[in-house]
Symmetry: C2
């Protein structure tokens, strides 16, 4: 099993803003993909759609301002059964976001792509909270022929 | 042992441009850090310096347009002994870059940071080759309090 790891610091005195961007349909649509539907409550399933396809995430755990945990229940084969964890903590002027997309069966080329793409979306999340403007799909930053 | 993985596609018909950006002092200074010195030849040591410190990389392997491999010989404790591998291949209009920073002893918070930061520098490399303008240190994109 191999994992994707990232860390960004969102410059805000209000960690709830980062938490809201991870736990509301409007917030998620502001940095990951505009086409976000479903239930954001614990036990709900979030439906994220992109041009080539999408992901369904079960919301496994919600701890306000501290932790959000998803399990991938539908999407590309390599994603199914993996987990996406967000750990937040306030450190001075920053809400520190520790991101882990865990449980990949193998370090395939698609995993390399997703790692870089996640980094780009984390910077979109940071921008959304700091400036009010993210870069969600389909307005996201292209990183390769795979977009 | 845990690894950082990334993939970008640089839109260029000339993979040697990407290779040059990884194997010349001028190229490396154009996307990673302006303060790059040392020897870029096989067996040489490249000295990359940033505001808080830097990395010395032994150039372990150079295969034109295909592969560049470095071993970290000095720098932060967590980096020493790790390897940084760049695999290139031409795929239509794109030079595909598969990046691996391998051999981290543990998935510490600093590794999360470096993963996101590498993604940002890979997009800087892509921009350098595609547009002539990268974002090397100290003009790099800040991602947190750790920069």
């Amino acid at each position: 099993m191999v994992d994707i790891l990232h860390r960004v610091g969102v410059k805000t005195p209000q960690p709830e803003k980062v938490y809201d961007a991870l736990t509301t349909i409007e917030g998620l649509a502001g940095w990951w993909t505009e086409d976000t539907k479903g239930s954001a409550a614990e036990g709900g399933v979030l439906e994220f759609r992109f041009l080539p396809g999408g992901f369904d995430m079960e919301v496994v755990e919600l701890r306000p301002r501290e932790r959000v945990s998803w399990r991938v229940v539908d999407g590309p084969e390599e994603w199914i059964g993996t987990t996406v964890d967000w750990n937040l903590r306030q450190d001075g002027d920053y809400t520190i976001v520790l991101f882990r997309h865990q449980g990949w069966a193998a370090p395939v080329e698609f995993m390399h792509h997703c790692s870089t793409k996640w980094a780009s979306y984390l910077l979109s999340l940071k921008s959304l909270v700091e400036t009010g403007e993210g870069a969600p799909s389909p307005r996201d930053v292209p990183i390769s022929d795979w977009h």
